[in-house]
C-alpha cells in the first residue's frame, strides 16, 4: 500500500518509547496475513498492510494492559479501541494509535467459495480493483469489492476514529455498497420455527472451541468465561445444540450495545458458523431504542452501562 512506508517511519519514530507495536505481516501462504508484534527495529520491515490485514488487533490490548503499546488500526478496529476506552478497560496514555485510510479487507470465506478450494495458493496479487490468485492449476481473477467483508460493504468509518499518527489522506464517509442490516432483515422475515431451525442446524457443528469468544476484542472476561465456569455450572458440557445455542445467546447479550460488529467472532470460527448475525440483531435493537452506536465516541457511556429512571423509548408502565 502506498502509505506503508510512511507508516513504517511513524512506527520507527515511536518505537523507542513503546514495548511493542501491533501490526500485520505475511503468513503461511500468500493469501493470508498474521498479526505481527513489532518489538525491535528490524521487525518493522516485515510490516504489511493490505486487504489481507483482517485481524482486529484491539483484541490484544486488554491483555497487554500495563505495557506501552502501539497499535495499527483500520477504521473498524479503532471503534473497538474506543469502546475499550469507554469502558475503562485500557488506559489512553499507554496506547499509541496508528491510523490509515482503509479501503476494506477481504472475507476469506468468500474467497474460499470463489476458488472452490484455497489450500494450494501459490501467489496472490491485489490491486485497487482485483485479487488475482494463482493456485496450482489456475489463475483466478476476483473482483475486490465482491470479496470484501460484509462490514466493509457498509462501512462508515474507514479512517481511524482516534489516532496519534495518521498516514495517508482521510477518506471521509464513503458511499456504502449495501444497506446496513439487509441480511438480518431478510432473515427476520422468516417464521420463528424456520429461524430456530436455522440456528439448530448451524450450531450443531459447533465444537465449543470458543474461538468466537477469544477473538472478540470486547469479551474481556477471558479466563473467567461463563461458558467454562464449573461453579456455578451455567452450561452443561454435553455435546448438545441446546447448550451451544445458549452460549451464543450469552455472548450476544454480553455484547449488546458494546459490540462494534467487527466480525472477529465469525471470522475466527473454524467451522464457519454465522454467529455475527446474533450480535447484529442486538445492536440494531440498541440503535433503535437508544439511538446509540458503540465505539464512535470515547466520551459516551454505553446505554446498558447506565441507568435512567425514565427511558424515552421504553414504556414500562402501561397504566
Amino acid at each position: 500500500m502506498k502509505f506503508q512506508e510512511e507508516l513504517k517511519d511513524s512506527i520507527r519514530k515511536a518505537l523507542p518509547d513503546l514495548d511493542v507495536v501491533l501490526g500485520w505481516c505475511g503468513s503461511f501462504d500468500p493469501l493470508h496475513a498474521t498479526p505481527h508484534f513489532i518489538r525491535r527495529e528490524e521487525d518493522i520491515d516485515k510490516l504489511e498492510i493490505s486487504p489481507l490485514s483482517v485481524h482486529n488487533l484491539a483484541t490484544y490490548l486488554p491483555g497487554l494492559r500495563g505495557k506501552k503499546v502501539g497499535i495499527v488500526v483500520k477504521g473498524c478496529d479503532s471503534r473497538s479501541v474506543v469502546e475499550l476506552l469507554q469502558e475503562n478497560l485500557i488506559n489512553r496514555e499507554d496506547i499509541t494509535i496508528f491510523g490509515f485510510p482503509c479501503t476494506g479487507v477481504v472475507d476469506q470465506a468468500k474467497i474460499k467459495k470463489a476458488l472452490g478450494h484455497a489450500g494450494n495458493v501459490r501467489t496472490c496479487d491485489i490491486s485497487d480493483s482485483a485479487i488475482v490468485i494463482q493456485t496450482e492449476d489456475k489463475a483466478h481473477s476476483l473482483t475486490l469489492t465482491q470479496m470484501l467483508a460484509d462490514k466493509c460493504r457498509t462501512c462508515r468509518y474507514p479512517d481511524a476514529i482516534i489516532s496519534d499518527y495518521f498516514v495517508g489522506d482521510k477518506i471521509g464517509e464513503p458511499a456504502p455498497l449495501e444497506t446496513d442490516y439487509a441480511a438480518l432483515e431478510a432473515f427476520e422475515s422468516l417464521s420463528v420455527p424456520e429461524r430456530f431451525g436455522y440456528w439448530l442446524k448451524e450450531l450443531d457443528r459447533c465444537i465449543r472451541c470458543y474461538a468466537c469468544r477469544s477473538a472478540c476484542p470486547l469479551c474481556v472476561c477471558r479466563d473467567h468465561c461463563a461458558a467454562e465456569s464449573r461453579d456455578p455450572h451455567w452450561l452443561s458440557q454435553e455435546n448438545n445444540v441446546r447448550d451451544k445455542v445458549m452460549f451464543q445467546v450469552i455472548h450476544a447479550y454480553h455484547m449488546a450495545g458494546r459490540c462494534t460488529e467487527c466480525g472477529e467472532c465469525q471470522r475466527a470460527c473454524p467451522v464457519d458458523i454465522p454467529v455475527l448475525m446474533l450480535k447484529q440483531k442486538m445492536n440494531r435493537e440498541i440503535r433503535d431504542i437508544f439511538q446509540y452506536e458503540a465505539g464512535v465516541d470515547p466520551e459516551a457511556t454505553p446505554p446498558l452501562l447506565s441507568f435512567n429512571m425514565e427511558e424515552e423509548n421504553i414504556t414500562e408502565k402501561e397504566w
Partner: protein
C-alpha cells in the same frame, strides 16, 4: 492374502449404503462452508475432494460421551442418608469411517499408545476403536499447510487404517490392510482390483513427488525441552495466540478430556468431553492456583507435549500427524511448524551471554 478391489465412483454411495445396513457409517459432507464427518446420508453429496475441515476424531472420541448414568435416592428410614446408584454406559455397535485422510487416521495411533496401554486401558475408547473400521483416502497432493512428511508419515501412509482407497480413473482402488478391512470388501459392487493396482501405485508416487523437502525433526524432543525455561521464547511464540481451543479440537492427535457430572434433580450423567491445554481451566487447581497462568505457558505445553514429552515416552513418535489444521484454522495463523523450527534453531541471544560473562 492381499486383497485389492476396484469400485466405480458411481457405485460409491450404493456401497456405503450397503455398509450402513450393519454399521454406523460416517462420511464427510458439506455443512455451511465447512466439511465435517457426519452419519452417511445418501441424499447428500460426499465431500471428499479435499481434506475435511474437522478430522473424524469424534467417531472414536466423541466431543462428549456418557460414562455413567446415576440416580440419587433417599433412604426412607433416614432422610439424611443419600444413596447413589450408577450404571456404566458402554458404547455399542460397529462403525465405518469413510474418507478420512492418512494423517486423520494415523492420529488414532497416537491415542492408542495412551488409551490402550497395558497398565491402564480406557474401556470406552477401546470399545469404539475396536469396533470402528477406517477406509482412508490416499491424498493426491499436499496443501500448503500439510506437513505429514515432516513427522515420519506421508500422503499415502496407511498406518492405523483398515482399507486404503486411491482415486484412479473412474473410481477407487481399495486395498485391505487388516482383517477388519478385508471383511468390508466383500460386496458384489466391488470388482477385482489387481489390474488397477499399478495405477494406484503411480498415484502414490506422484503424491510423494509433490512434497517439498522436510526439515530434520529428530532433534526436536531435546531442543524443545531445552527452551522449556526460556519464557521469552514462549512469550514471543504465543504473543498472537488467543488461547482458544480451536487448534486442539481440530487436531486428529489431541486426546485430552474433562469429566463433569451433569445433574438435574435426582438424576444425572457423568460425561467426558473434549478439553484442551490452551484453556486456562485445563490446569486450574481447586485452590485457585494455576500452574499455567498465561497463554505462553499453555502454548509451551501444546508444542512441548507433541514434539518433546510424548516422543520421550513413546519411542520417539511425535504426537502430531502433520495435517496442518491448527495452522489453517487458527484465527490468527499460529504456525506450529515455525515454532518447532525456531526451538530447534534457538540460541540464547549473544548479548545475554556476554552480559553474563562481564
Amino acid at each position: 492374502m492381499e486383497l485389492v478391489k476396484y469400485l466405480k465412483s458411481a457405485d460409491l454411495k450404493s456401497w456405503l449404503q450397503e455398509l450402513a445396513r450393519e454399521n454406523r457409517v460416517f462420511a464427510p459432507r458439506n455443512e455451511g462452508d465447512s466439511v465435517i464427518f457426519a452419519p452417511f446420508d445418501p441424499e447428500q453429496e460426499i465431500a471428499i475432494v479435499h481434506p475435511a475441515t474437522l478430522p473424524p476424531k469424534k467417531t472414536v472420541f466423541p466431543q462428549s460421551e456418557k460414562l455413567v448414568d446415576f440416580t440419587y435416592s433417599k433412604d426412607p428410614e433416614n432422610l439424611s442418608r443419600i444413596m447413589i446408584d450408577g450404571k456404566e454406559v458402554l458404547p455399542e455397535g460397529t462403525a465405518v469411517v469413510f474418507g478420512g485422510r492418512p494423517c486423520d487416521v494415523r492420529g488414532f495411533t497416537m491415542f492408542d499408545r495412551v488409551y490402550l496401554a497395558e497398565k491402564s486401558t480406557d474401556i470406552y475408547y477401546q470399545a469404539r476403536r475396536e469396533n470402528t473400521t477406517f477406509i482412508t483416502l490416499a491424498c493426491e497432493k499436499p496443501e500448503t499447510t500439510c506437513f505429514c512428511h515432516w513427522v515420519d508419515s506421508g500422503p499415502t501412509d496407511a498406518t492405523g487404517s483398515d482399507v486404503l482407497a486411491t482415486v484412479v480413473d473412474g473410481g477407487y482402488v481399495l486395498e485391505a490392510l487388516s482383517d477388519k478391512g478385508s471383511k468390508l470388501l466383500t460386496s458384489t459392487l466391488l470388482e477385482n482390483g489387481e489390474s488397477r493396482k499399478d495405477e494406484a501405485r503411480k498415484a502414490h508416487e506422484k503424491a510423494a513427488e509433490l512434497l517439498q523437502d522436510a526439515p530434520d525433526l529428530s532433534g526436536a524432543p531435546k531442543k524443545v525441552l531445552q527452551v522449556f525455561d526460556t519464557m521469552e521464547f514462549w512469550e514471543e511464540a504465543a504473543a498472537k495466540c488467543l488461547s482458544c481451543g480451536a487448534c486442539a479440537y481440530l487436531c486428529p492427535s489431541c486426546y485430552c478430556f474433562n469429566i463433569t457430572d451433569e445433574t438435574i434433580g435426582m438424576k444425572g450423567t457423568r460425561i467426558r468431553s473434549w478439553d484442551n491445554c490452551m484453556s486456562a481451566q485445563f490446569t486450574m487447581e481447586a485452590s485457585g492456583h494455576n500452574p499455567r497462568p498465561t497463554k505462553a505457558h499453555r502454548l509451551r505445553n501444546r508444542v512441548g507435549h507433541k514434539f518433546s514429552y510424548y516422543p520421550d515416552i513413546h519411542d520417539g513418535v511425535i504426537s502430531c500427524c502433520g495435517c496442518g489444521r491448527c495452522i489453517k484454522s487458527c484465527p490468527v495463523g499460529t504456525d506450529i511448524r515455525e515454532i518447532v523450527l525456531q526451538a530447534i534453531e534457538y540460541e540464547p541471544a549473544v548479548g545475554e551471554e556476554q552480559a553474563d560473562e562481564q
